[in-house]
Every structure is written in C-alpha cells, then in structure tokens.
Amino acid sequence: MDNLSSLSYFVPELFLSAAILIIIIVDLLLKEERKIWTGFLSAAALIISTFLIFQQYRLSASEIFHGMLVVDSMAVLIKLIIAVSTTVIILFSLPFIKTKSEYYMLLLITTLGMFLMAGVNDILMIILAMELVGLMSYVLAGFTKRNLLSNEGSLKYILYAATSTGVMAFGFSYLYGMTGQTNLFKIQQALLANPPQQAAFFIVMILILAGLGYKIAMVPFHFWLPDVYEGAPTPITAFLSVGPKAAGIAVLIRFFTTVVSHSAPGAALSFLQNLQVHIPMLLAVLAVLTMTLGNVVALRQTNIKRLMAYSSIAHAGYMIMAMVVFNAQGYQAILFYLIVYLFMNFGAFWVIIIMTQKLGSEEIDAFKGLGYRAPYTAVSMAIFLFSLTGLPPLAGFIGKFYLFSAVVKADWYVLALLGVLNSVISLYYYANIVREMFLRTTETQVDIPVSLYDKVLLTLMLVPTVLFGIYWNPVLRLTEISFNILR
C-alpha cells in the first residue's frame, strides 16, 4: 500500500504524535504549579487513542507504508494493551510528579514507539522502533537525577541495551546479506527459494535473539533488569514490566512467524530451515532457564522492587514457554496472559508505590503488620500476589492454565511439568510477603491513612484480577479474534 492511502490505517499513531506536539506547546504556556495539566492531557490523549485503536478491528489486515508496518488484529490487541498500560501508569504518577511535564511527554513518546513495535514488518522498522522505546526508557529510568541508584540503573540499562541492539543489528545485516531483502515477508520467500547455509542461518538467529531477548529479559540477556528495576522510580519500574515487554513479545512472535517458521497448509509447524538444532527445543531450554533463574533468585531478595524484577523475569519465562509450540493456540495463550498480567502486576506495583512512599523503605521487612495497619491495601496485595502465583480462582490461574494447556496439547509434558514446579517455587516468595503483612506485628499499630484516590485505583486493578478468574470469556473472545497474524 502506498504512503498516502496508508495514512487511514495509521490514525492512532498520528493522533498520538499530534498530541505529543500539542502537549509540548501547552507545557510552555503553563505556570509551574499548573504543569500537572500536561499529565491530565496525556491521559486524555491515550484514552482517545485507545478508542481509535478499537476502530482498527474493522480494518482488513494489510501491509502499510510499502511494507514497513503491518496492521493486523494481533498488532491491534498489543497496541490496546500498551495504551491501557501507559494510561494506568500516568494515573499512578499523577500524585507524585506534579511539576515535571517532561515525564509525561517521555511516557507518550515511548508509547508511540511501542505502537510501532507492535506492527513492525521490516528490519529497519524493528531497529528504529526498538531504539525509540529504548532511548526514552533510559531517560525515564534515570529520571530522578539526584538519586545515584537511579543513575546507576540507567547507565547499566543503556550500556546493556545498546550492546544488544548492536549485536541484533549485526545479525540483521547478515540476514539481509543472505536474502537481499529487508521486508520480513520477502525475506521469508527468499529463504524458501534459496535455502542459506545452515550454520550461518543459526548464527544469525542467535545474534537476533540476543537483541529481542534483552527486550523481554530472556535469561542470558537479563542482567540489566534487576538493577534497572531497583534503581528506577517505582512507577517507571511498573511501566517497564508490562508495556515494553508486550511490545517485545509482539516483535518476537513476528520474527518467529516470518523468518523462522512459515504457515504450510496442513502442517502444524514447519520451519524454513531444518536446522541440526531443533528450534523449539532451544526455546524450551531458554524458557526453563528464564523462569527457574527468576524464581530461584527471587527467593533470597529482601528489596521488594528487586523481588518484583526477578518475578517479572520468571513471568517472561512462562510466556516464552508457550511460544515453543509454534501454533495459534500458543500465541493466543500469550496474548491472554499479557492482559491478565497487566492488571495483577500493576495492582501489586500500585501497593508497592503507595506503601514504600508511606513507610519510607523498600525492604520487605517494612511491610510487617501491614494487614492491621492498612487492611484494604494489604488484602488487595495478597490477592495480587496469589494471582501472580497462579492460584485459583484468580485471573493468574486462568492465564497460566491456557499457557500450560497449549504446551501440553503439543505434547511438551516435561516442559509443562517444569513450569508447574516453578509456579510452586514462586508461591514461597509471594506468600512470604503475605506472611509479613498478616502474621507479623509491629509494636506500634498506627493506622496508615490511604487516600480515596489510591483506593479507587486499587479497586480498578482489583476488579479485573478477581473477575477474569471467574468470568474470562470476553477476554478469551478478544484474544481469539486477535491472533490473526499476517504472514
């Protein structure tokens, strides 16, 4: 499709770009004490773009801008998840960041980058979109300029991220050399027509996985994550744990459905190259390593943000596990899990944000006796943590159920077993926080006041976490209409 007629497929992104420019101008006109209005404007812009994204379900799946991007229903769903997650993060940040409007602009630009990541279809767009998200995230991670931890996390983030992006781009350069194409569909056709040398293709795949794996924190490339999560301002930690991860998963799925496998009629999975190394087996090993490392290291964490960092590595592992099956059911389970993960993870992070602020400490010990000092918050936290573990009847259970059933149906019994064992390990450290909150008491039982705004946001996260555990059909329908991947 040519550039001019592509524009009607590009409405949410265009709207968001215009909104960013308008907010920058509005910021110049506002006085210091009114800067918070840029936050309200950003939230409004995101809500409008959510509606615009919903409209895109009516469009037929197609390539736009001469094949640079695609608009298909998977891209639309990922964009929805991203828009909702950024809206929630802006609501989380409003009470704390009142005078710095750059913060909201950076969040919006990151969101724009993630929208592009959801629909990438060209080597150039993959590199550009990932860098747009990355560059803004480094600044956001180091946003508290006077805090050394924040800066340290930010420096580690940019050094790791730039290296992985460089390695990934190097892999892409060889992929381009093998095929002479940059469009992913054309690369697929070229690879089918002229199969390249096996070893070279394998090396290319590993190099590219280094870049994509860093984005979703797959195990050999996860080193940056704990430090960044601990150092960054807590709302940004929450932001990094859902939005960029969803976008990274989208790019990973696109890469695997075009360059690595192809949809042959009749066969469940067929690969472009019959490599000596079985690709699903490679992914399965990486998935098991990712979740085991995340869960085991989380066991001995005392800082709650660092614990959530390792827990987010473990959850990335569960999602990679479903990617192993290479069929629509697996991808659908991943999309379902992303939706559920958004609510339960943000809920847990919101409790951490308000409580670390009030208690003045990020240690798990500080949560001691919270069940008696702020009952509603503590009970909600317990529900979020049990949902993250995957206990019924909460949303996390349903999400994990679909992930595991996709894996079991494709006869990966050992992988599913290891996944379940990992969930059991994760119960220990999540339950430890609950134990601190309810079974331990402090000498001074002073009530912690929680404002109405905090409670409303908490309930907004709590309702889907409980509801999707009992009545999840609408979400399932949404993922069913959304796994149409253009390939």
């Binding site: 080597i123 150039l124 590199i127 550009l128 860098e131 560059l135 480094y138 600044v139 180091g142 300029k145 006077r146 050394l148 931890l149 800066n151 340290e152 996390g153 930010s154 420096l155 580690k156 940019i158 050094l159 730039a162 290296t163 992006t165 460089g166 390695v167 781009a169 190097f170 892409f172 350069s173 060889y174 381009y176 050399g177 002479g180 194409q181 940059t182 704990p226 430090d227 601990e230 150092g231 001995r300 964490q301 005392t302 800082n303 660092r306």
Partner: protein, 101 residues
C-alpha cells in the same frame, strides 16, 4: 575490489574488537566507544551487502539510520555518565555496585 569477502572480514574484525572493548573496558566512555565500533561494523556490512547482493539501496538507507541512532544513543549515554560523574567523581563501572546482592 570486486569481491565482497574483504568487506565482510573487515566488518567482522571491527565487530569482534567492539565486543572485546565492551567486555574489557572499565571506563564507561570506553564501553561507549566499543558500542560505536559494533554499530559501525553493522554499517560496513549493510553497505557491502547493498552493493553486492541487493538490487536496490535498502542497506545504505538502513546504515544512514544506524548512524543517527548511534549519535542519539551516545548523546543520552554521555548525559547519564556526566550526571554520575557529578555525584561520584568517577566513571569506572566497577565502582557502580551499590545494587549487587
């Protein structure tokens, strides 16, 4: 030269040198230079392939974008490094270990 091989060898050597710089340097600015080397090796590869494999100029366009990305990345990284230097008076990454557990 009418062969692609010399270009690819140079590209690979620059890439490996970049990775070694990233791994062995302790100075944050040094690591940043390693990253620049890696990105430049990417550019060499893309341009070589654009000349010898592709019928169009896709590779050359990508390399222009990669140059811009490298500049943007360096700008942000140097800003962060400068900020850390103001607080700690060092840019040695081994000294930045407040969060190791």
């Amino acid at each position: 030269m009418n062969s692609i091989i010399p270009y690819l060898i140079v590209g690979a050597i620059v890439f490996v040198l970049g990775i070694f710089t990233i791994v062995y340097k302790k100075n944050a600015v040094g690591i940043l230079m390693g990253i620049e080397l890696v990105l430049n090796s990417v550019n060499i590869n893309f341009i070589a392939f654009a000349k010898f494999v592709d019928t169009g100029i896709h590779g050359q366009i990508i390399s222009i974008f990669v140059i811009i990305l490298a500049a943007a990345e360096a700008a942000i990284a140097l800003a962060i490094i400068l900020n850390i230097y103001r607080m700690k008076a060092t840019v040695d990454v081994t000294q930045l270990n407040k969060m190791k557990h």
